[in-house]
């Protein structure tokens, strides 16, 4: 089949699904709605696979399929096509999106079957897939931006899906507006790049990027990439714009899995990787990215320690993992960033769906303090969740281990790296191991704290099949990128991942001095440290939350105010509303009241008063007193005469 047609079908299939479900959005026939949506995404998935195979057939340097459908905007020199490109990076993304997407669609049929808005839900979900595909396939920044905003819109609609709850609608709004702040910076970034390079085509931008790194903070590339990165902090929930993601858990759980874990939130990382040629010559931006990523990774992890809502824990975990990915791209490990993106998509989607399964079983209960001992009620969910847990805490040989280890190694060894970044990464890993174990322990292990009226039950096959598939992927997903030091030991399995991405990724040199042997030793030891610490941390958490009742409370008490602060999410939301939002609203009210009503309107009234006053003054001159009239004549004559005489 023609490759362009494949891309067209890939894109249009979910859109058609959206329309099919959209026009009959009031229907409650969940089987029909779910089938339409799932089949639409499956078709896309098949297209993705075909495109991927097509790419594989091509020689490595020419692995790029483009399709220009029409000219979208053309003004003067600014010409943007509705053009899409499949290359090494985007092919992985479309596989993840459509693959994981299809699984989540399947899961949703089971999860949402009781909901009245099920058809609308599937329509939104398909629309999201469509926009996400535009985002990853768009070959210029502007076409990417179309998807970028489009997924934001879908996220808005899906977070606020149960709109009758004011808080949920507000969460949707918060997500959209916070994203918009990033988008505004993204737009500026596009302008800077367009004015500098005269194009927004990402392929061309990478080609045109200067070869020498830009050292100035105010250079065009640095500023442009910095702006794009601010855009990414909005979409990918990094400091300071991460606040929307935890609230976004108001949406249905499969949505959290699809949008707020696996796909949309990774758009920022994807964008940076796509533009790696540009970012790599802006070391200042890279440094900022790495620092922000590391800081987010640690901070979100600490908040994750104290949360009791199962989805909130996962949300902060997502923020933290995204921080990891930014740390990766920030130190120039674009491949590792993408790698972690993929493995994270697998295990985090798995965990979200697992939590969905738990919530489903618990009749919409999300508080982990009211769970416990669910292992015997939900065996499949527990088993899959367990695998996801191993993956996320980075236990070898599960997927998370390889990607996380790659990132940590690069953070240490890259020329952009630093030991502190590495330390932050390890700290993040340790914290992650702790709160994830805590989550496992409180939810599935230990004694049951389930309310008597609730009878947990295992979910139907529609929900467990995706869990199983994702669990398998979480286990084996990391095997495509086994680092050299390990592969050397186990029989030279090639690093498929690096090999695949090589033509499109620019690399920074590693700075570790010494012979190959020293380097290998170093890598081994670092790996050992991080895995060991994580394991100890996980074990501690296991003991604390299953064996020793009340130990956690004691720790919490010991830390007192610090615990409270972390539990309240460092009061960032409160600070934002007290420092930015409320003053803005109050200020606007004053602006309206003072400027509009009291200054401008009053001023115009003053003018009318002046006219009216002038009129009434002239009116008062006309008294009817003839002698006064005669006086006016006299004065007039005097004035006229003196004017004549003075001349």
């Amino acid at each position: 089949m023609n490759q362009q047609a494949l891309i067209a079908i890939l894109l249009l299939s979910p859109l058609i699904g959206f329309f099919l479900n959209g026009v009959r959005f009031r229907s409650t026939n969940y089987v029909l709605a779910g089938s339409i949506a799932t089949i639409a995404v499956l078709i896309s998935f098949i297209c993705s696979v075909l495109l991927f195979l097509n790419l594989v057939d091509l020689p490595p340097e020419a692995r790029r399929i483009t399709a220009n459908f029409f000219e979208w905007i053309a003004v003067d020199k600014f010409k943007i096509n509705a053009g899409f490109a499949v290359d090494q990076i985007s092919s992985i993304m479309i596989l993840i999106i459509t693959g994981v997407g299809a699984l989540i669609h399947l899961f949703s049929i089971g999860y949402m079957h009781h909901d009245k808005g099920v058809t609308k839900y599937f329509a939104y979900l398909n629309l999201f897939i469509f926009n996400m595909l535009i985002l990853v396939l768009g070959d210029s920044l502007l076409t990417m931006f179309v998807g970028w905003e489009g997924v934001g819109l879908c996220s808005y609609l899906l977070i606020g899906f149960w709109f009758n709850d004011s808080a949920k609608a507000a969460a949707g709004m918060k997500a959209f507006i916070t994203n918009r702040i990033g988008d505004a910076a993204f737009i500026i970034g596009m302008f800077i790049l367009f004015m500098t390079f005269g194009t927004l085509n990402m392929h061309e931008l990478n080609m045109l990027a200067p070869t020498i790194a830009e050292s100035s903070w105010l250079g065009a590339v640095t500023l442009g990439t910095m702006m794009l990165f601010i855009g990414a902090t909005g979409k990918s929930a990094q400091i300071p714009l991460y606040v929307w993601l935890p609230d976004a858990m108001a949406g249905p759980t499969p949505v959290s899995a699809l949008i707020h874990a696996a796909t949309m939130v990774t758009a920022g990382i994807y964008m940076i990787v796509r533009l790696n040629g540009l970012f790599i010559v802006a070391p200042n931006t890279m440094m900022v990215i790495a620092i922000v990523g590391a800081a987010t990774a640690v901070m979100a992890a600490t908040i994750g320690l104290t949360q009791f809502d199962i989805k909130k824990v996962l949300a902060y975990s997502t923020v933290s993992q995204l921080g990891y990915m930014f740390l990766a791209v920030g130190v120039g490990a674009f491949g590792a960033g993408m790698f972690h993106l993929m493995t994270h998509a697998f295990f985090k989607a798995l965990m979200f769906l697992g939590s969905g399964s738990v919530i489903h079983a618990m009749h919409e209960e999300q508080d982990i303090r009211k769970m416990g001992g669910l292992r015997k009620y939900l065996p499949i969910t527990h088993a899959t969740f367990f695998l996801g847990w191993l993956a996320i805490i980075g236990m070898p040989p599960f997927a998370g281990f390889f990607s996380k280890d790659e990132i940590l190694w690069k953070a240490f060894s890259s020329s952009q790296g630093h030991i502190l970044l590495w330390a932050a990464g390890v700290l993040g890993a340790v914290l992650t191991a702790f709160y994830m174990t805590r989550l496992m322990a409180l939810t599935f292990w230990g004694k049951s704290r389930v309310d008597k009226s609730v009878h947990p039950h295992e979910s139907p096959w529609l929900m467990t099949v995706p869990l199983i598939v994702l669990a398998i992927l979480s286990v084996v997903g990391g095997w495509v990128g086994i680092p050299h030091v390990i592969s050397e030991q186990i029989g030279h399995i090639p690093n498929f991942w690096e090999h695949w991405l090589e033509p499109v990724i620019r690399k920074l040199p590693t700075v570790v001095e010494g012979a190959h042997h020293d380097e290998t030793m170093l890598e081994w030891s670092l790996m050992g440290i991080s895995v060991g610490l994580a394991a100890i941390s996980a074990l501690t958490a296991y003991i604390m939350y299953t064996k020793k009742e009340g130990a956690s409370d004691k720790v919490a008490k010991a830390f007192g105010p610090v615990y409270q602060l972390v539990n309240k999410k460092y009061l960032v939301d409160e600070a934002y509303s007290a420092g930015i939002i409320n003053p803005l609203i109050e200020g606007s009210k004053n602006l309206w009241y003072y400027v509009d009503v009291n200054v401008i309107d009053k001023a115009t009234y003053k003018v009318t008063d002046l006219v009216r006053g002038g009129g009434s003054f002239v009116k008062s001159l006309q008294t009817g007193n003839m002698q006064q009239y005669a006086m006016y004549i006299g004065i007039g004559v005097v004035v006229a005469l003196s004017f004549v005489l003075m001349r």
């Binding site: 959005f25 009031r26 029409f70 000219e71 979208w72 905007i73 053309a74 003004v75 003067d76 600014f78 502007l142 931006f145 179309v146 905003e149 489009g150 819109l153 808005y156 606020g160 709109f163 009758n164 709850d165 004011s166 609608a169 507000a170 949707g172 709004m173 959209f176 507006i177 918009r180 702040i181 988008d183 505004a184 910076a185 737009i187 500026i188 302008f191 800077i192 367009f194 004015m195 803005l584 609203i585 200020g587 606007s588 009210k589 602006l591 309206w592 400027v595 509009d596 401008i600 309107d601 115009t604 009318t608």
Partner: protein
């Protein structure tokens, strides 16, 4: 052709006024407006978009002594606005099917006169003829707001009228002054033709305020700025919008505001290029202030209609910036944004009118949870909201993006400030949507005695063309921009020595 376009509505208005049957007035008006629309489509068919030349010219002497002629012509700058006008009127008539219940004949007659006046001011190429149409447009609007308006309609009409009128006076003065200058270029006789005005070379001294070009520039600019409206002169707009009946608001926001921005492009920039360039920063600054100020004030409005009115102030700020950065991106974007704003804000006012018909309230705080009761209405509203806040693939994005790009190439600082409008725009619109449509059911939505029915077939028919346009213009902007591109590019390139060519050959010659 153009004369027919202008005067057919007047004929319609007269027929309307003497139509004997009361029941069929609306059907008749709808039919007439559709005839007009079809006629304008015919015009579009004949329009040659490849050239910047003035087309379909009609010129006859009118008041020969003062060189005033009946001079009509169309080029890329006006063609889409003409289409917008003829497109919106049938929608307005259908949209106001139920909301206008007194003096139906008079209303439709006024609407047709208004249409004629608006078309006239877009099409006339003679200063005095233009002025006549410009002023004529005030009169029916005055009646539409004054007769069919809300409770404070007299205050609002007066404010609207006096504001616009005081600007017009300045403009008339400036027109007469310029007519007195024309003998220099026409070889001795006075002329009011815009083409002769373009030939004038009015002396300009940078920094000196009391020079002819600067004074004329500000006289025209203030007149148009009131109409747009630009920031400190905007306070008539919210009042007029709130008091106007739905169709009045739609015409006002959809077309009348565009008369101001169109005239900036047709008159101010080409006639006084040096002054416009020298003082552009003032208008760009006002545009930026308008964007931010309008958005902030819109955010805290308790009344939906007022909110949309202030959002108009914000959007018009974008257009103003686009015009005054005077590069191809900005001007193309601004022209496109005029159409977008006409469609999306028009649609917003129609939607608000629909809900107002049902509940007779526009207080945001009394709504809530409307989405559960009126899902189709909500879908339409959210789509239009997305267009208004410029989500890609809706029309608003293309215009806004190009304007921002133009602003960036003028000065990154301007773009940096203007781009805050993107965020604030989303904030006030979505907050409003949240309060009206989402959350628990509000006071008005809960009440049982007026059941809130979802959109009727008529209302769907009203909204569907607008929504189609929103997406069509967002996905295929070239279909629309191609009409104006030649003219705009020509204007941007030759703005210092501008004159609309009368034939394509002349255009090419001047190009070289």
């Amino acid at each position: 052709m153009l004369s027919a376009l202008i005067f057919l509505p007047i004929v319609f208005a007269i027929v309307m006024a003497f139509w004997p049957q009361k029941n069929t007035v609306r059907h008749l008006a709808l039919g007439f407006s559709l005839i007009e629309f079809v006629l304008s489509l015919g015009m579009l068919q004949k329009f040659d978009s490849s050239t910047a030349a003035l087309q379909m010219v009609e010129q006859t002497a009118w008041i020969q002594r003062f060189g005033i002629s009946y001079f009509l012509g169309i080029d890329g700058i006006s063609v889409m606005l003409v289409m917008l006008t003829t497109f919106l009127v049938p929608i307005i008539i259908l949209g106001s099917w139920n909301s206008i219940d007194k003096q139906v004949k008079g209303f439709h007659a006024a609407l047709f006169v208004l249409q004629a006046a608006m078309l006239g001011s877009f099409l006339s190429m003679d200063a005095i003829l233009f002025y006549v149409f410009w002023e004529l447009s005030l009169v029916p609007m005055y009646f539409i707001v004054g007769i069919w308006g809300g409770s404070r309609r007299i205050y609002a009409t007066l404010k609207f009228f006096i504001y616009t009128m005081s600007g017009s006076m300045l403009m008339l003065l400036a027109i007469i002054f310029m007519m007195r200058l024309t003998p220099e270029v026409t070889g001795g006789y006075i002329s009011a033709s815009l083409l002769d005005f373009y030939k004038l070379n009015i002396p300009f001294v940078a920094g000196e305020f009391l020079t002819p070009q600067t004074l004329l520039f500000f006289a025209f600019a203030v007149a148009f700025a009131i109409k747009v409206p630009v920031f400190p002169l905007h306070t008539w707009l919210p009042d007029a919008h709130v008091e106007a009946p739905t169709p009045g608001s739609v015409v006002l926001a959809g077309v009348m505001l565009k008369m101001g921005t169109y005239c900036f492009l047709r008159w101010v920039i080409p006639l006084f290029p040096e002054a416009a360039e020298h003082y552009a920063w003032i208008f760009i600054a006002l545009g930026v202030i308008g964007i931010i100020y309008g958005a902030l004030v819109a955010m805290v409005q308790p009344d939906v209609k007022k909110l949309v009115a202030y959002s108009s102030v914000s959007h018009m700020g974008y257009i103003l910036i686009g015009l005054f950065v005077m590069n191809a991106y900005g001007v193309n974007g601004a022209l496109y944004q005029m159409l977008n704003h006409g469609i999306s804000t028009g649609a917003l006012f129609l939607l608000i009118g629909m809900i107002y018909e049902r509940t007779h309230s526009r207080e945001i705080s009394k709504y809530g949870g409307l989405a559960g009761v009126m899902p189709y209405f909500t879908i339409a509203f959210v789509i239009v909201t997305m267009s208004s806040i410029a989500v890609p693939l809706t029309n608003g994005f293309v215009g806004e993006f190009l304007i921002l790009l133009g602003a960036y190439s003028y000065s990154p600082v301007v773009a940096a400030f203007a781009v805050t409008g993107v965020v604030l725009g989303a904030a006030y619109m979505l907050w409003m949507v949240k309060r009206v449509f989402f959350g628990p059911k509000g006071e008005l939505v809960k009440e049982d005695h007026h059941p809130l029915l979802d959109l009727s077939v008529r209302e769907v028919v009203v909204l569907v063309p607008l929504i189609i346009m929103i997406f069509w213009m967002g996905i295929f902007p070239n279909h629309f921009m191609d009409f104006s591109k030649a003219s705009v590019d020509y204007l941007v390139k030759n703005k210092m020595d501008y004159s609309i060519p009368l034939s394509p050959n002349q255009a090419q010659a001047q190009e070289k």
